[in-house]
């Protein structure tokens, strides 16, 4: 029986707590009497008959006719799917997308549909490598469709293949992939790892253009998104997305939205100790942990990254629902909350976060310093509802080595962003005004995004804006264990140990601050009262 999340009040007998630190771990002792550790809810049971549940969802959708009746010979069918920025870490085969798409294709074959296009809805993310597509879709679908040119990745810079659907009353323009816009039916296959995703966000970001995204991917909107994972009505991002969704609903193609949720069983052996509470570690867990950290200390960083990015998580589907977008998303969120939501009383002065080796923007790549900020202040800081875990003006302390290391194939514009933009300013509004246009329109980045495997030129700005709310809210941000010049370039304060960090923080929060630590794997939503 999976246990719900719980908040541990740290006392003198509490053992050291496990922190992620990039491609390694550390154990930190938190001060007794004024610290608490938030343990996420344990992973739920997966569905027993996954394929059966999918078939059932297609046969009995919500607020829509069964999928089979919506298909007819000669129709233009487009299947769009979430790219491999999730789930993290990648799933064991067969991936959820493979299962759902095979089921949809079976239905399409039954209905005699010939014109099927399968599009990776990656928005401004990088194009996926062949092995990543094969992993997500399975070899059968890849081999059948890719060679025929019927399986491809959305290109937001191909202006001949974008079409404007309409404009909202706030002036936001909905511009999406032309093939999807012109289809008789668009089936969207989603994996809702976090509450931020799904619903109208799927198509209005995944198949959109830079012009369309800039209406809500900007500092002002994101500073008013409180939070990314919380109540939709408190998120300016989602409010804008929902407006665009209305335009999509009224003037766009017919959409059959299939949403799935996963449990949080993310780490296979030998990494199960990550999911467990420290005092419940068996002797084997402790030995594994010691062995792992010690050998990782001696492992060259490239090999350590390879090991971590090779992890295939045993997480599995906990629900699948299909049909009308908003009705489906409502149910999906219930399932996400069932797995992730937990109640936490009050805020503290300090929030400590262990930053892992991976974020949605570097699957199978290097976590560069810009993404450390994004993961810490963007994602982990925003794992809340109602109020942030740390009080306004409090201190956020993160642990990560912060190497000045970039993957030049995936993140070329991130390198320039770090060298040129961050040495000039770390303020989101100012960088947006001064630098964003140049990066968004640079021809070289555009070439690499369209033909290589690079994130769009403007993407580092979005990664930075993701943390804009956190930047504004926190009084100070400290990175423990990070390379000092790099940390300073990010605008943060470097510290070598956690105690040093508390010492530095005392300028802002005094000598006896209260501390919250978000325990790995930190896939949770803290409902802060």
């Amino acid at each position: 029986m999976p246990r719900p999340g719980f908040v541990l009040e740290v006392d003198r007998s509490t053992p050291s707590i496990l922190f992620w630190r990039g491609e390694n771990f550390s154990l930190e002792k938190l001060p007794a009497g004024r610290s608490r550790v938030i343990y996420p809810p344990e992973p739920l049971e997966a569905l027993s008959d996954i394929d059966g549940a999918i078939r059932n969802a297609l046969l009995n959708p919500i607020d829509q006719d069964p999928l089979a009746t919506q298909m007819f010979p000669g129709m233009k069918l487009t299947i769009a799917f979430d790219d491999v920025s999730l789930p993290l870490p990648k799933m064991r085969r067969p991936d959820v997308r493979q299962r759902v798409i095979e089921a949809v294709l079976d239905t399409a074959a039954q209905a005699g549909v010939d014109d099927v296009h399968i599009i990776a809805a990656l928005g401004l993310h990088r194009r996926m490598h062949e092995y990543e597509m094969r992993h997500a879709l399975g070899d059968r679908v890849y081999d059948a469709f890719h060679g025929r040119g019927m399986l491809y990745q959305h290109d937001a810079e191909d202006h001949d293949n974008l079409s404007v659907i309409g404009t909202t009353d706030h002036g936001e323009v909905l511009e999406i992939n032309k093939r999807a816009a012109d289809s008789d039916l668009v089936v969207y296959v989603n994996i809702n790892s976090v509450a931020m995703d799904g619903g109208w966000k799927s198509i209005t970001t995944g198949l959109a253009s830079y012009r369309c995204l800039s209406f809500h991917h900007n500092p002002e909107t994101l500073e008013n998104t409180k939070s990314l994972m919380g109540h939709r009505h408190q998120s300016a991002l989602h409010t804008s997305v929902w407006r665009l969704g209305q335009v999509l609903k009224d003037h766009g193609p017919k959409i059959f939205q299939i949403e799935t949720t996963l449990n949080t069983d993310m780490f296979p052996s030998p990494f199960e100790f990550i999911n467990k509470r420290e005092w419940e570690w068996t002797a084997k867990d402790r030995a594994t942990f010691l062995g792992t950290t010690k050998s990782l200390n001696r492992t060259p960083i490239k090999l350590a990254r390879k090991i971590f990015h090779g992890i295939e998580g045993p997480h599995q589907m906990t629900s699948v629902q299909a049909g009308e977008t908003e009705a489906v998303h409502k149910i999906t969120l219930e399932h996400v909350h069932r797995q992730q939501l937990m109640e936490v009383q009050g805020q503290t002065d300090i929030l400590t976060l262990g930053i892992p080796f991976v974020s949605p923007y570097n699957p199978d790549g290097v976590m560069n310093p810009v993404l450390v900020m994004c993961m810490g202040l963007g994602y982990l800081f925003n794992m809340y509802r109602n109020k942030p875990l740390v009080r306004e003006g409090g201190v956020v302390i993160m642990t990560h080595p912060c190497y000045r290391d970039f993957n030049p194939v995936h993140h070329p514009s991130y390198i320039d962003f770090f060298e040129q933009v961050l040495s000039d300013t770390t303020n989101p509004a100012e960088m947006s005004r001064k630098w964003e246009k140049q990066y968004a329109e640079d021809e070289w980045y555009r070439h690499l995004y369209r033909t290589g495997n690079a994130y769009h030129g403007v993407h580092p700005f979005y990664a930075w804006y993701w943390g804009a709310h956190g930047l504004k809210h926190a009084g100070k941000v400290i990175i423990v264990g990070g390379d000092p010049p790099t940390v300073r370039r990010l605008g943060f304060t470097p510290a070598s140990t956690m105690d040093d960090a508390f010492e530095i923080a005392s300028d802002v929060v005094g000598r006896s601050p209260t501390i919250t630590h978000l325990h790995v794997p930190a896939l949770l939503i803290a409902d802060v009262q």
């Binding site: 074959a109 059968r140 059948a144 060679g147 025929r148 040119g149």
Partner: protein, 341 residues
């Protein structure tokens, strides 16, 4: 393998020496047996009294061959060594197998107690069995029993023992599944053993498949286990029926989704379902998933039994079909250009 020429005697002297040795040996044996010749029953077999008929012992060969010893843990351990060593190496060299579709079995593998299943492949060659027992994934590989034709594999003690030991074979009658063997098989399944049954009954005589018989469907219905359809492509060219020597080639094995027996479904219907599944897998192996699904929806997957006509056109069509197979891989790898118009 080098053909060693018969030993040639190089000289007459050598020949004389051999004859001398032979004579001496036979002389010695005759001398030794002399005392025994003098004795009678019970040292020597007695003569049957006139007019009486001795009832025949039930034959221990064929369908009655006892293979229980081959499933003991000692035999299992020995077989594991043989399967993972020489047999796997042999299969890799001779057949270079490409295995796809294993993700369809992932859900069963995930369960805490993986249930036994019945693998139902098409059958073109003796190479099929060593191939199957090396590519089936765990946990079924170590608990696999192969249903083999009683009249072919178990007609002599030596053959039967070898088959049981190396392949974990179990004798079944090809034409009529006797009550006894089907009960035995059910007992095996209940004990947790998985089966490999070739629904065609025997290897294809002309390179095309044969009609599926209902043995696998019948057993699955009675025991409730799933049937996993499997398509094996390419073994017919390696060591098909009637070929004298092995010819190295490439093979492709496609696993299909497990088919569960449906409450109230007749054996005949289930058998048809299995045959349709293997047919669709065959289409998928030679073309692709989408083509196969589209044709399956129309019921137009190319039949495994081949075209309706006989004679030279049937053979001609087989050659065309074989070109599409794994052996004709290079032809199929020509790039399909996307339609940009």
């Amino acid at each position: 393998m080098k053909n060693s020429a018969p030993t040639r005697l190089h000289s007459l002297g050598q020949l004389r020496r051999v004859v001398k040795v032979g004579d001496a040996a036979s002389g010695a044996v005759r001398t030794a047996l002399k005392p025994i010749r003098a004795l009678g029953f019970p040292y020597r077999k007695p003569l049957v009294p006139k007019g009486l008929v001795v009832p025949a012992d039930p034959s221990k060969l064929g369908a009655n061959f006892d293979t229980g010893w081959a499933r003991s843990s000692a035999a299992k351990a020995a077989r594991a060594v043989v399967t993972n060593g020489p047999i796997r190496a042999f299969v890799k060299t001779v057949a270079s197998p490409q295995v796809v579709g294993l993700d369809r079995l992932a859900d069963l593998q995930r369960l805490n107690e993986t249930p036994p299943v019945i693998f139902a492949p098409n059958h073109h060659s003796h190479v099929d069995t060593p191939l199957i027992i090396t590519v089936v994934p765990e946990p079924w590989r170590s608990t696999l029993v192969v249903a083999a034709a009683a009249d072919y594999f178990f007609d002599t003690r030596v053959k039967g023992t070898l088959a049981a030991l190396t392949l974990n074979a179990f004798p079944i009658d090809r034409e009529v599944t006797s009550r006894k063997s089907s009960d035995e098989l059910r007992r095996l399944i209940d004990d947790g053993w998985s089966l490999v049954i070739y629904p065609e009954g025997g290897r294809s005589p002309d390179g095309w498949g044969q009609e599926f018989k209902g043995g696998a469907a019948y057993l699955a219905n009675r025991t409730g286990v799933a049937v996993v359809p499997v398509f094996i492509d390419g073994t017919g060219s390696i060591y098909g029926k009637g070929m004298k020597r092995l010819k190295r080639g490439t093979t492709k094995i496609v696993f299909g989704s497990p088919l569960l027996p449906i409450e109230g479904e007749s054996t005949r219907r289930f058998n048809a379902r299995i045959e349709a599944a293997v047919t669709a897998l065959g289409d998928e192996a030679l073309t692709d998933f989408w083509t196969s699904r589209q044709r399956a929806a129309q019921g137009s997957n190319p039949k495994l039994t081949g075209p309706e006509y006989n004679g030279w056109r049937r053979q001609w069509a087989l050659a065309e079909h074989r070109k599409l197979g794994r052996a004709g891989v290079r032809r199929r790898q020509t790039r399909r250009w996307p339609d940009l118009g």
